[in-house]
Amino acid sequence: MSQLKKWKEVPRGGLILKPGSAAEYETGTWRTFRPIHHEDKCIQCLRCWIYCPDAAVIVKDGKVVGFDYVHCKGCGICARECPAEPVAITMSPESDFDKE
């Protein structure tokens, strides 16, 4: 995660001075539960990629390979919508990863 700016460094009044800067906002810090992708169980239906509200499912060559944890808010929609049996996405508490 990037260093948070000090009060003298941020534009006044909450102004955002350039467009498209939402990508720089690390919404991953909001996460309480972290989605874990189990590649061996994944049927590559890409439903998680379709449903993810933050475009945080990483797809390479047409296949789900994991999550963008800098932006994933941990909403859990991917895990809920995963149709695979057994399920290919599970949610784990962030506290399990505190030592990372």
Binding site: L4, K5, K6, W7, K8, V10, R12, G13, G14, L15, I16, L17, K18, P19, T29
Partner: protein
Amino acid sequence: MTIAQTKRGKNTRVAGIRTALTGNDAVAEAWRQVDLDVVAAYPITPQTELMHKFAEFVADGKVTTKLVLVESEHSAMSCVIGASASGCRCATATCANGLALMWEMLYIAASLRYPIVMADVNRALSGPLNIHCDHSDTMGARDAGWIHLFSENVQEAYDNAIQAFRIAEHPDILLPVMVMLDGFILSHTTEVLELVPDDAVRAFVGEYKPDYLLLDPAHPITVGPLDLPDYYFEHKRQQIEAMEAVPAVVTKVAEEYAELTGRHYGFIEPYRLDDARVAIVALGSTAGTTKATVDILREEGKPVGMVKVRMFRPFPVKELVDALSGLDAVAVFDRSASFGAMGGPVYIETLAALYGTRTNVRVMNGIYGLGGRDIGTSLIRPVFEDLLKGKMEPQVRYISVRE
């Protein structure tokens, strides 16, 4: 007519134009001279005539202002916030319940750091319904992040209404300014005053040059986005810093205005205080009434004085402490009640300012004039007499309420 010339920050003294106006007309006249970009108007007594007058200037083509007639005060403040975001110099006016309806937008104007100027014609908040003067309206808004300038008379209302733009728009400040004038007492009373010539006003306020424009496609910005626990506090800290920079700017603007007009305004104005033993602290038109009372008692050889507070936000702690410290006793006048608090807001602020200083001055609170109840020298005189006798009880007294 002399033309004001700005050379190395020095303003040449200009010949004033002596005339007579009501407080409402004087503020409208100041804003005609400034020639604002956008003004939002919604009528409420006793502010209505101010906007009537300004609307007349618009209709007569005397200003280039876009006058927006809105459906409520909430919309009036929203309108000038939007206009300010797009880089316009703008103003509005209101009072009492109109100010109350603006509430959330007052905070937004201040926190987005827009240099809006608003005249508040002080009027009692309902209920029961009352249209007359007290300070309960703006005192409720004292923590909204606006600069508060009170006016003793029509001249000062006019002078404040011009200086407000320079204060608000200073790059170290960028905060909205409220100019207060007492409802009816000043708003509807014709007084003699001296106007500054149009060109001198225009030169004094200069051109407003905002650094960011909402409607500049080449440099797109976002105004008012969500601000979460990770940055909201930092923005509030900036706002506090801006408020702390206000006294230096108010002083500089006042000095330049004095060069131009010969009229100088401080944060406070001590009156016959040098050899006084006791004093009254007052805001607005009552400062004038208190001065008159001081003059009467001085004729009788009594060592009394008074302190007018012109700038209530930011509160002039140091200046007030310096003015009051050597005295035996002080009565702080409040034209509003703060229900459940230990007294009125000016009293509480004054006590807080004096706390921890080495002074032994004793302080009491006179709450007066609610809902436009008249205050005259005959009501102020007994307060001075009690102060001279050292009679400080009750510590909070209600002047001229029927017991």
